[in-house]
């Protein structure tokens, strides 16, 4: 195959190749650069761990570790302070579980709707609108929980206290819906159409295709979206600080006021506690507990994702 000027493509390529040492360099350099970027994330974690661990040790030199994990009272500001992390864990669990109950079904439902039922146009319009929900400042959500959701809930549940776990739990759930919906939608949409066609051609309804074919094929992306969403819920501070109150309370009753680990961290680190006090170190001990908490969840999620992933 000769080109107009008599050259052949083969020669042209050979010529370019011999000149192209820059390309070679890029090829060699890129993996190192990418490795560097990956290491940044490791360094970040190490940085965080370092910040947490040193101060956590100091904390445990002042507060017995046994007390920390067994007492069910969290009263760091009392004259005779008690540090029972179970209280904060209960608060965190309560809010997270409520958020998950709200966000996972709704987020996944929306994702299935967008990826399997909605027309391309609807998807292109609705998806970005949903994503706006993810960018609303958390104080806005906080006040929304306090001045809209709580009064609404109080009409349904008269016993609900002004500060409670239910309302911020629901609102945190709302906040993470777009994360779950949008990422899961992406995961499901990237399952090749030919697979979808194969199932539809057997007389499967869209529902059956979505649940039995697409969802399993996209499970790794869907689980990843859950993990990100739930992580965000666990790490969320402002909403729970505003609408959950700041009474640490060992309870699993969502109508009562609670404090989460994150809310405590905010309270103690923006508050008045002096540098070097036990309260100051407790911030890090709580942070560390939270870190372990998310670690466990992640190990679990990776296991699930590996276990159920279906390759195509």
């Amino acid at each position: 195959m000769a080109l107009a000027n008599g050259q052949s493509v083969r020669d042209l390529i050979k010529k370019k190749k011999s000149k192209n040492s820059a390309g070679n360099f890029i090829e060699k350099a890129v993996p190192y650069f990418l490795l560097f970027t990956a290491i940044v994330s490791v360094l970040t974690t190490l940085g965080i761990l370092y910040t947490l661990i040193v101060e956590t040790f100091i904390f445990f030199s002042q507060v017995p570790i046994g007390e920390f994990f067994t007492k069910t009272e969290w009263l760091p500001f009392a004259g005779d302070p008690v540090y029972g992390i179970l209280t904060l864990i209960a608060g965190t669990l309560l809010v997270t579980v409520i958020a998950v109950i709200v966000a996972v079904p709704i987020g996944l439902g929306a994702a299935i709707y967008l990826s399997e039922y909605a027309s391309d146009r609807v998807r292109r319009i609705v998806k970005p609108i949903l994503e706006i929900l993810a960018g609303i400042p958390t104080i806005v959500y906080g006040f929304f929980a306090l001045t809209f959701v709580t009064p609404l809930l109080q009409q349904a549940i008269p016993k609900l206290s002004f500060f409670n776990a239910l309302s911020p739990g629901i609102v945190v759930g709302i906040m993470i819906i777009p994360m779950i919906a949008s990422l899961s939608d992406d995961a499901m949409s990237s399952v090749p159409n030919s697979i979808r066609e194969g199932a539809l051609a057997m007389g499967a309804t869209k529902f059956e295709v979505a649940i039995k074919i697409i969802l399993p094929a996209a499970v790794s992306g869907v689980v990843a979206s859950f993990v990100l969403g739930i992580s965000r819920a666990i790490g969320e501070t402002m909403i729970v600080t505003l609408a959950g109150g700041s009474n640490p309370n060992f309870t699993f009753n969502p109508t009562e006021t609670i404090q989460t680990m994150t809310a405590y961290i905010v309270q103690a680190s923006t508050g008045d506690a002096g540098y070097g006090t036990t309260i100051y170190y407790s911030i890090y001990a709580v942070g560390m507990t939270l870190f372990v908490f998310t670690l466990i969840m992640n190990v679990l999620a990776q296991y699930i994702s590996r276990r159920f992933r279906e390759e195509y």
Binding site: I26, E27, V30, L34, L35, F36, T37, A38, S41, T44, T45, G47, I48, T51, P105, L108, G109, A110, Y113, V126, K127, P128, I129, E131, A134, G135, I136, P137, I139, V140, F144, F148, A181, S182, D185, D186, A187, S189, V191, P192, N193, T205, A218, S220, G221, A224, L228, I230, S231, I234, E236, T237, M238, I265, V266, S269, G287, T294, L295, N298
Partner: protein, 292 residues
């Protein structure tokens, strides 16, 4: 080989179709629910804040007199911080994702990195603030600057970008990679020209979610050292600064009702930034998104 009773199949069909319809309704309701919540939120903010929206509001610095307070410094502060955060987090995030999906062997080290990243997603934002304070402000001596704030934010949103990008890269069909390698393309050429363009929609979805969060975060920047009341514009990356959510938060915490209205007006502006930013990303995403 008559193992299937067709009449039974037909009989069951009605139920299955009904189920499909019911679930379609449920899924639609799930989607609508989110939209309705957004509408309520928007409505509340707009009715509260629109009265204070004016050209002056954009032109003025904050003030102790609500009627002449504006969002200028915070607006530009947010733009500056995002100008650092967006490129840094994109390069780091997508880079990490490519490394993990395309280059790294599946060994303990990669599992370790992977674990790290997912774990970072759950670290509360304020802890990132503490990290930024220790590392960027103090250790690297960047001071209470835009750069320090931007870097901190970039680390905060990194996990979402990494995980979303990884998923997107992973779902690029293997046969496309094969086709490219088959032409003698190098690994990087294949990634750059085939894998990334195909993965763009997913990467952007993660980015949109991540950037949106960065625009609205208060706590980490406060800890890093963003100020609450600033009456000048930043002039370089080392300037002190404030950002919109902090300004809004400050106003909302004031006792005077006027300031709470002001906060609502600030939120509207924040929405507008968010929508503009997302629209750009969505336009790019739409350009790249096709099913195959």
């Amino acid at each position: 080989m008559k193992l299937i009773d067709q009449s039974l199949v037909v009989k069951k069909m009605g139920g299955r179709l009904a189920k499909n319809q019911v679930f379609k309704g449920i899924y639609l309701a799930a989607t609508l629910f989110s939209l309705v919540v957004l509408a309520i939120l928007m409505f509340r903010i707009f009715t509260q804040g629109y009265a204070y929206l004016s050209w002056d509001f954009l032109q003025n610095f904050t003030s102790y007199v609500a009627s002449r307070a504006g969002i200028k410094a915070a607006f530009f502060g947010t733009i500056w911080v995002m100008a650092v955060t967006i490129p840094v987090s994109l390069i780091l995030g997508v880079g990490t994702a490519i490394y993990l999906e395309e280059y790294a062997k599946k060994n303990r080290f990669t599992t370790f990195i992977q674990m790290n990243i997912s774990n970072l997603a759950g670290v509360p934002s304020i802890v990132f603030g503490l990290l930024g304070l220790t590392i960027f402000v103090r250790f690297f001596d960047l001071g209470r600057s835009i750069l320090a704030g931007g870097f901190t934010m970039a680390l905060l949103i990194l996990p979402v970008i990494v995980v979303a990008s990884q998923e997107a890269i992973r779902s690029v069909p293997g046969q496309l990679r094969e086709a490219s390698f088959g032409m003698g393309a190098t690994k990087w050429q294949t990634i750059y020209r085939i894998v990334l363009p195909t993965a763009v929609p997913g990467i952007l979805t993660g980015s949109i979610l991540a950037f949106s969060r960065a625009v609205g975060e208060t706590a980490p920047l406060l800890v890093v050292g963003a100020f609450a009341a600033v009456r000048y514009l930043p002039d370089d990356l080392f300037s002190t600064f404030t950002v919109m959510p902090i300004q809004i938060y400050q106003w909302a915490a004031r006792p005077q009702e006027d300031f709470q209205t002001l906060a609502a007006a600030g939120i509207i502006i924040l929405f507008i930034i968010l929508i503009v930013m997302n629209s750009i990303a969505v336009l790019i995403r739409n350009k790249f998104s096709k099913r195959y």
